[in-house]
């Protein structure tokens, strides 16, 4: 019995997943299959813990969010792991955390949306350098998957063996052989851009750090210098961030006929925006002429 590897995926790729898989055997592991063919049962990420919310009156069920440069991971921990549920509530907000967790997915009965979340197995406070290392490592892993998807596009039949033969790692080849026919291939360009943004994000952080570390004494405080988009930011920057999240949601999910207002709200809530905020942001984007409402309640990019 093989232990499931902990995939390195960014929140955007993970949250874009629309497919879950489960083996037929009783104890068979379940997977979230991402658009780039990560077949995720376990994942490992480092990011900023932005909020922890108790969801049940007795405190036995909590939701938390961990942000990376591309999006937000949603974590749920419940009564079956009381120690983890309690531990989650003990962190300072915000702080850098490293998380090993199991993939979870939820598909509401109405519609074909899927929500991927994480059940944390371990969460530990770490420093900014480890967060940066994780981003760089995850860029490389994601790049390998993008290349494999591109390679697959030129194949007559996309199989694991064919991808292994041209040099891709078996776990990636396996995932892509399943995901390839089920996702829109155009998404790949979006992830190329995501990686570019992620590497720019670190460079920005490095510059910020160079100017701020001199002023700060302890290393845990200086770590905030690498976090230009986090809660120390100004209102303007927060607006910008919200706009970016909302635009990303619309762009990646609008079909021929646009995307419904409700679905935008649902998806943005997952990224940590509340409904009031989403409404404000949609209005502001319409004012800027970036989106419009072809039919009442439906949004489309211009």
């Amino acid at each position: 019995m093989k232990r499931e590897p902990a995939w390195r995926v960014f929140a955007m790729e993970y949250n874009d997943s629309m497919i879950s898989m489960k083996g037929e055997a009783k104890m068979a592991p379940s997977y979230v299959l991402t658009p780039l063919g990560s077949k995720v049962n376990r994942l490992f990420f480092v990011g900023v813990l932005t909020d922890v919310e108790v969801m049940s009156e007795d405190g036995s069920f909590v939701r938390a969010h961990v942000s990376d440069p591309t999006g937000v991971f949603t974590l749920f921990s419940g009564q079956y792991q009381p120690e983890m549920t309690e531990k989650l509530q003990s962190f300072d907000i915000p702080s850098f955390v490293a998380v090993t967790g199991k993939s979870r997915s939820y598909q509401p009965d109405d519609g074909d949306a899927m929500y991927a979340s994480v059940r944390p197995e371990e969460i530990v406070e770490v420093n900014a350098s480890l967060r940066d290392q994780w981003i760089l490592e995850t860029i490389i892993h994601t790049k390998n998957r993008i290349e494999a998807v591109k390679e697959a596009s030129s194949m007559d039949a996309v199989t694991m063996d064919a991808l292994v033969d041209v040099g891709f790692y078996k776990p990636i080849a396996e995932g892509i052989s399943i995901a390839f026919d089920q996702y829109d291939r155009l998404l790949v360009e979006k992830y190329v851009q995501m990686l570019q943004d992620a590497v720019d994000y670190i460079s920005m952080g490095e510059q910020a750090e160079a100017t701020t570390t001199k002023l700060e004494s302890s290393s845990s405080e200086s770590s905030m210098g690498t976090e230009p988009k986090m809660p120390t930011t100004t209102v303007d920057e927060q607006d910008e961030e919200a706009e970016e999240i909302v635009m990303n949601v619309i762009k990646s999910h609008e079909g021929e006929d646009g995307i419904s207002w409700d679905e935008i709200t649902k998806r943005c809530e997952k990224e940590g925006l509340d409904d009031v905020r989403v409404d404000e942001t949609l209005n502001s984007l319409m004012d800027k002429g970036l989106i419009y409402e072809p039919v009442l309640g439906t949004i489309k990019t211009t």
Binding site: Q133, I202, E206
Partner: protein, 436 residues
């Protein structure tokens, strides 16, 4: 209702027939008279003789579907999945016990490798089959399954194994396969290879109350390293380069090894393999899962879990096993000797491996001595372990082993790697240009 009554003579004949196909134990437990009576009961009810005999044979635990003699031999290369009553004539290349869990219960099964003139194939036997390494055997009533697109050969309780002479198989069956070390796996059988003796050590063993010398060591070529055992004195010396013909591969504690016995030929080579050309193989962690055991390899990954049983533990003074709450599993209540260790999972995103850091390695990584750790409460110590190691990259050299629960790494050395983010940003930026 037609009734098929037989004369007593015929009845006894059939009863003897049935008896002759039972194994010895069953034969003792039942008399010809009893068999005849049971048979007669069926016949009185109009069951045809053939069916009645089959029914009784089944009742006595004999596979009746096809009598073994009427089945044609299949070559290993021609075996199809999901066949019953498979008959083979092969040599046993290796056979090893394997501990597995079945429905939560430990159980020992036997796995190994067979070969004939068409190739090799692994087998799985649920009970110890009556055959040893090197034997030439005829195997009847085996069955096959399909597993991940490959044919699996299984021996159930119906299997019949019969010893044969070597000449029933054509000569080419026994020709070794030319390999390099990275191509060696437990399925490869006998091999021909050129390698350098990197180390060798003589050991005295006692076989049938007779003292014998055996030799163990490590071989290397330009693709990697592998341990070996020589069961006779081939006059090997360290640093010599040798050509081996007819060594065979066998797993020892999950690690493939070259075995040299009296069937092997060893020749010294003039052309030397340089030690600097012998690499320590660097592997991704998923590759460990695909191999039963790897000797002297390098891996790295992040620590994604520090497991229960890390920190201060007590060991049994008799057997060195870590004590459980109620004492030692073997020696009961004992005064434990304290030790410090970290059990953790290392993962590189493609696969994972469990490893254990010993006291010395742990002290170095957390910057505290065991005595200092003893003063801390267990939660405090666990936090310190997490702080020092969780999410960090470690690189290790050593051997990997595989068991039912996945891969374990026995690290000769382990180091925490501090990455230079600034340098890596530039590297990653260049990499991304490849995507344009």
């Amino acid at each position: 209702m037609g009734v098929y009554l037989l004369t007593n003579e015929n009845l006894n004949q059939h009863a003897q027939d049935i008896l002759s196909r039972l194994d010895d134990q069953k034969k003792k437990a039942i008399s010809a008279q009893e068999v005849a009576e049971e048979l007669e009961k069926f016949l009185e009810y109009g069951v045809p003789v053939k069916q009645a005999k089959q029914t009784l044979l089944k009742k006595f635990g004999v596979n009746t579907s096809v009598p073994p003699d009427s089945v044609e031999r299949t070559l290993l290369a021609d075996l199809q999945p999901n066949k019953r009553n498979v008959k083979l004539i092969t040599q046993v290349v290796s056979i090893n016990p394997k501990d597995i869990m079945v429905k939560g219960q430990p159980r020992t099964i036997f796995t190994g490798l067979l070969r004939d003139e068409s190739g090799t194939l692994p087998f799985t036997a649920w009970d110890k089959p009556a055959m040893n390494e090197g034997d030439i055997v005829e195997i009847a009533n085996a069955y096959t399954r399909e597993w991940q697109g490959k044919v699996q050969l299984n021996f159930g309780n119906q299997v019949i194994i019969e010893q044969k002479e070597k000449d029933v198989l054509p000569k080419e069956t026994f020709e070794p396969k030319k390999v390099t070390i990275n191509e060696i796996n437990p399925l490869v059988g006998t091999v021909e290879m050129t390698a350098k003796v990197l180390s060798i050590e003589e050991k005295e063993i006692t076989v049938n109350q007779e003292k014998k010398s055996m030799f163990t060591g490590v071989l290397g070529d330009s693709t990697g390293k592998i341990p070996f055992t020589a069961w006779k004195d081939f006059k090997l010396s360290k640093d010599s380069t040798i050509l081996i013909k007819g060594g065979y591969v066998k797993s020892f504690r999950g690690m493939p090894q070259i075995n040299l016995d009296e069937n092997a030929e060893v020749k010294k080579q003039k052309k030397q393999i340089k030690e600097s050309d012998i690499p320590t193989r660097s592997l991704h962690l998923f590759e460990l899962d695909d191999n039963p055991g790897m000797y002297d390899v390098a891996v790295s990954g992040r620590v994604i879990e520090i497991q229960q049983g890390s920190g201060i533990v007590l060991r049994c003074p008799e057997c060195n096993q870590v004590l459980r709450e109620d004492g030692c599993r073997v020696h009961g209540k004992v005064d434990g000797i304290p030790d410090l260790r970290i059990k953790c999972v290392v993962d590189d995103g493609t696969g994972s491996v469990k490893t254990v850091l010993n006291r010395e390695q742990t002290e170095k990584i957390i910057g505290k001595t065991m005595d200092e750790c003893k003063q801390m409460n267990p939660e405090e110590l666990h936090s310190l372990l997490n702080e020092s190691l969780f999410a960090r990259i470690v690189s290790m050299n050593g051997n990997s082993l595989q068991d039912f629960y996945g891969s374990t790494f026995l690290a000769d050395n382990i180091e925490v790697v501090n990455e230079d983010v600034e340098k890596k940003v530039d590297h990653v930026r260049n990499l991304l240009e490849e995507l344009e």
